[in-house]
């Protein structure tokens, strides 16, 4: 945990007041919110998710062991709030291991090196949003936020090996989506955005 976080957290735990909370909020919410937006694909849901994550974090600050970064811990809470929400929703349950296995067997088109650099950020965002939840979580945590497999394993309650295999498959799926114009237009049709 950084010295700044340590001071902010100690001040908050001592005072438990609005002012010290706001300092923590302003420091860490942008990364929590970004993760929430990418996981949920909706700004409204991301706001709910961020609010719920903060409530849970404040409730459990005492359980934070301070060996990891505060940001890591908070993002982990966002991810877990999201996963719980997904579990509660019958429509969008997370992929089972068997389903993930099947997905990995689907044909994957390798993205030529020359085209890799042509993918626009918006395409990457869209492709990310189309990944199965399990893959998306690991790809976002590892490739975008820079967490290690060990940290991801703790965060998601999975084995390090599972994190590695989901990252590998997630990247493959992502490459496939980015390589396929049909995949992009399918997304466009569904969301109604250009």
């Amino acid at each position: 945990m950084t010295a700044d976080d340590s001071v902010l957290l100690e001040t908050f735990e001592r005072r438990r007041d609005e002012r010290s909370f706001r300092k923590l909020y302003r420091r860490h919410t942008p990364s929590m919110f970004a993760m929430a937006v990418r996981l949920s694909g909706s700004q409204a849901e991301a706001e709910e998710l961020t609010q719920e994550a903060w409530c849970r974090a404040v409730e459990r600050f005492g359980a934070f062991d301070r060996r990891s970064a505060l940001r890591t811990w908070l993002i982990g809470i966002v991810v877990n709030c999201y996963r719980e929400g997904v579990r509660r929703s019958a429509k969008t349950r997370p992929a089972t291991d068997a389903e993930l296995e099947n997905l990995s067997d689907s044909p994957v088109t390798a993205l030529p090196v020359s085209r890799r650099t042509q993918a626009e950020p918006i395409d990457v965002e869209r492709a990310l949003s189309r990944l199965p939840p399990g893959y998306r979580e690991v790809v976002l945590l590892h490739d975008l936020n820079g967490f290690t497999h060990k940290e991801i394993a703790v965060m998601l309650g999975i084995q390090e090996g599972t994190s590695k295999s989901q990252l590998k498959r997630g990247r493959e799926q992502l490459r496939s989506l980015l390589a396929s114009p049909a995949g992009r237009s399918e997304y466009t049709d569904k969301r109604g955005t250009p």
Partner: protein, 223 residues
């Protein structure tokens, strides 16, 4: 945190990851929503003590009146934060010059559209945006929301003083809140007042410049 990349291409190689932001600025109103949720759950202490008129009493009422209050509540909650440190002694603008203080009195006229329970949250967001705007312009000072359903009128009667329970003076509309803003010119105060959600929803706002009284501080007592 080590970035292990033993699994081949990272997201970085797939597009332009550096342009994928790791952080996103959340809506301004979210901060107060989160703070209010924590205060309601008793998990943090508000900067200003919660009174029955600012949170609790209204929060538990599922009636239309409570919904209206909840919308106005946004003002009170923000103000709670501001009032602890921004009660004006001498008002100065960004250049350090003194500015005037204006009161914005919010009246619930007949045309005012009180929000339903479903609309309360949206209304809350609208007030949050207004306060954020006033803060951004360094004009917001403080304010308070009122219980527009209950009040007491003190008035002379038959050589004495009568107290009656009402929120109306001479049949006029109830006052549902007051805001204080600083402005170099009354046009600046009017511009802010026009942008109030209260006006958009049919309410009237009376804008009046305050007069400095400069009440001298009490003399120190000798022991």
């Amino acid at each position: 945190m080590n970035h292990d990349s033993e699994n081949g291409d990272s997201l970085a190689a797939l597009g332009e990851p550096s342009s994928l932001p790791v952080e996103m600025e959340p809506p301004i109103a979210l901060e107060d929503r989160v703070v209010n949720a924590l205060v309601r759950r008793g998990m943090i202490r508000p900067d200003r003590p919660v009174t029955k008129y600012s949170l609790g009493w209204r929060a538990v009422r599922a009636s239309l009146a409570a919904a209206a209050c909840a919308a106005i509540l946004a003002v009170g909650v923000f103000i709670g934060r501001a009032s602890t440190e921004q009660i004006p002694g001498s008002l100065t603008n960004l250049t350090g010059a003194e500015t005037d203080l204006y009161a914005l009195l919010l009246f619930e006229t007949d045309s005012y559209d009180r929000p339903s329970a479903q609309e309360a949250l949206t209304r809350y967001g609208e007030y949050s945006e207004w306060i954020a705007l006033a803060r951004e312009r360094e004009q917001f000072v403080t304010g308070e929301d009122f219980d527009a359903d209950r009040g007491w009128l003190i008035a002379p009667e038959d050589g004495g003083v009568a107290v009656s329970e009402t929120v109306r003076v001479a049949g006029g509309p109830p006052l549902s809140g007051v805001l204080f803003v600083r402005a170099d010119h009354h046009d600046d105060a009017l511009r802010l007042a026009r942008a109030l959600p209260h006006v958009r929803h049919g309410g009237s706002v009376l804008v009046q410049k305050t007069i400095r009284t400069d009440v001298p501080p009490p003399e120190p007592t000798r022991e």
